[in-house]
Amino acid sequence: MTKVHHHEFDVVIVGAGGAGMRAAIEAGPHARTAVITKLFPTRSHTGAAQGGMAAALANVEEDSWEWHTFDTVKGGDYLVDQDAAEILAKESVQAVIDLENMGLPFNRTPDGKIDQRRFGGHTRDHGKAPVRRSCYAADRTGHMILQTLYQTCVKLGIEFFNEFYVLDMIMTEVDGQEVPAAVVAYDLATGEIHIVRGKSIVYATGGFGKIFKTTSNAHTLTGDGIGIIWRKGLPLEDMEFYQFHPTGLAGLGILLSEAARGEGGILRNASGERFMERYAPTIKDLAPRDMVARAMANEVREGRGAGPNKDYVLLDLTHLEPAVIDAKLPDITEFARTYLGVEPYTEPVPVFPTAHYAMGGIPTNIKAEVLRDNDTVVPGLYAAGECACVSVHGANRLGTNSLLDINVFGKRAGIYAVEYAKTATLPPLPENAEAGVIALLDKVRNSKGDEKVSVLRKELQDIMDANAQVYRTEESLNEALEKIIELRARYEKISIQDHGQRFNTDLLEAVELGFLLDLAEVLAYSSRERRESRGGHFREDYLERNDEKFMVHSMLYREAEPNGEIGGGIRVDWKPVVITNYQPMERKY
């Protein structure tokens, strides 16, 4: 019999990256707070973010939150909810000040203020020229944010459950409304089950880049949190919008920050041409990521790629002073040296787009409350950061807006989770709350087929790279969906080798693959249903943006178990975009 432990808190936060810890810092001093994470907090992937965090501090040149809002809306190809974008931009200044006050070692201007640099899509006065808006700490801004937030959590004595995998959420009915009562976690060290009850539950579980082969994401980014929400029958929003970051190290996908271009780096094709001049004449290499990634893929498709297989382009930093590179881009240039053996002082670096960031996710409102449909809140349930869709990123996120998102909406999630917990009573725990997780684990443990988790995962990642990446068509997406049906059937016949209780990562990789299959299917299905091109979603069979039909968010619902049919059990609905000031216009840079 698996041992089951019980815990009670006011606020339970799932995930200890930037959003989760920022929420914990708000909640901890006011409510009994627990943070549950499948890693140790400083291992979270916020730490891999490099270039900076946007805020119109205007420390080095004129800037305003209104310009930032416009850039965010335009960068998101007008699918951004503008009320949320206004909050993001307005609260960015305080978010940066909060971090500085907590101790974050930002780079400084000669007069001691926080220094700022350029980043893609951030402009002065509605697109006139690039603006210095990104607050940064060398090219390890995410590392410094993660460390600073963890340090602050240590200072506040926040309680962490490290290396606990949340695998289920228990819902119950209170006053006729369905509310979350607890999450069920698997303790990696012991294999025991922990039921953690809370009045408020906050999801801050990050992304799911591991559905793709070429990705900047960590091995652990398997979308378990979003997957749990999905399996509970709650909707997911805008899942077709996935960002491919232009500059992944070719063949590896390791991220090279856009800061490289912010500091003056130039993308070139095989003949040395600065090809972005053709695609975005005004801001060139600092165009938003979706446009740059597509331009790069197009150069390669039209035979202008570099290298023996002409399958990548080049990021040229050789005209920058080595001292500038060392001071502002030390980590990413070291990645090029370590992993490709390329010396960025003297040689251009081979790069190609890499799966990077989910714009979509768990739908929330501006209080980080999770929605069960277009308008109805699930009381006591919150989400923030990459796993959430509020939606400040719309169809394409601007660089430096994600570190901002986790701080602004992580903080909001913490504040509103406490506010709710203050008046709520602890929802009753249904009987046998652990049964779902025990059944899930037993199924994997006892499965005796001859399929291997690693083989299925690789086939999934290959098909997603080939069929649901920068370029998509009805045909490619149907192919991916059919393959996922096949993989799901084979997933029923897996077997694992480790049958121990302690540190059983073999077991957990199998469970994680289940979530990856679910999320890949939702992504491919919603991509098929959006028959237009917008932001990061590019359909070769529907080249134009179609505002008449698709100026709406997609809302995906899991209405039944997968049944072997394409999209079986999935229903797509649509949700209006919130427009305050900016009517959709053609997106030119």
Binding site: L39, G103, Q151, P308, S476, T505
Partner: protein
Amino acid sequence: MSDVKEIAEIPSFTVKLSIRRFDPEKSEEASWQEYEVEMHSTDRVLDALHKIKWEQDGSLTFRRSCAHGVCGSDAVRINGRNRLACKTLIKDLDINSTITVEPIKGLPVEKDLIVDMNPFYQAYKDINPFLVANDKPEKERLQSPEDRARYDDTTKCILCAACTTSCPVFWTDGQYFGPAAIVNAHRFIFDSRDEEAEVRLDILNDKEGVWRCRTTFNCTEACPRGIEVTKAIAEVKQAILRGRP
């Protein structure tokens, strides 16, 4: 449809690894187990571990996450040296002899390459690893680029424990704070905004503090982030003797 191909034809070869295995559910004793895998020269040791786990032996257990040297999960001892498995390329090792991989030393082994990190994290927490400043600024606190540069090196720490578990003093005396905790103390002691340098210096003036350091430089060599760890420890010693500069 995009089709991501390999960069070029990269030569592959057979690599032998000998991995220290331990599973207390099966045996009280640890033992070495040998594996052969087909690898490319651009692969990392982490890729070899994954290949073994995914193709040969699912019970092989290790921590990993980001796979490019920034999360600090996969510090292990490779050919007797502490390194991150994801930052060590196969081609940089001698592939004609067997590559040994074992857990970092000085912390209790839990299973295979996984150690109990709690004593390490506790030492980190014991030096008060957070800014203490009692002013209430309305905007950012000012700090000159020179003052910011003073502690830049020690802000790079990813808490992987490669330094602390390479230290001979830590191996024999688990109570010693160890290099990583001192590095993180340094990061605040030399931050012009911090008001608690004296408290931290007092903590490290303890018998288990900086004076245990024997300046063997193992820590500096082990640091995957290139932090000059021994220098940072020396600066903390100086600060205890003469006060923060």
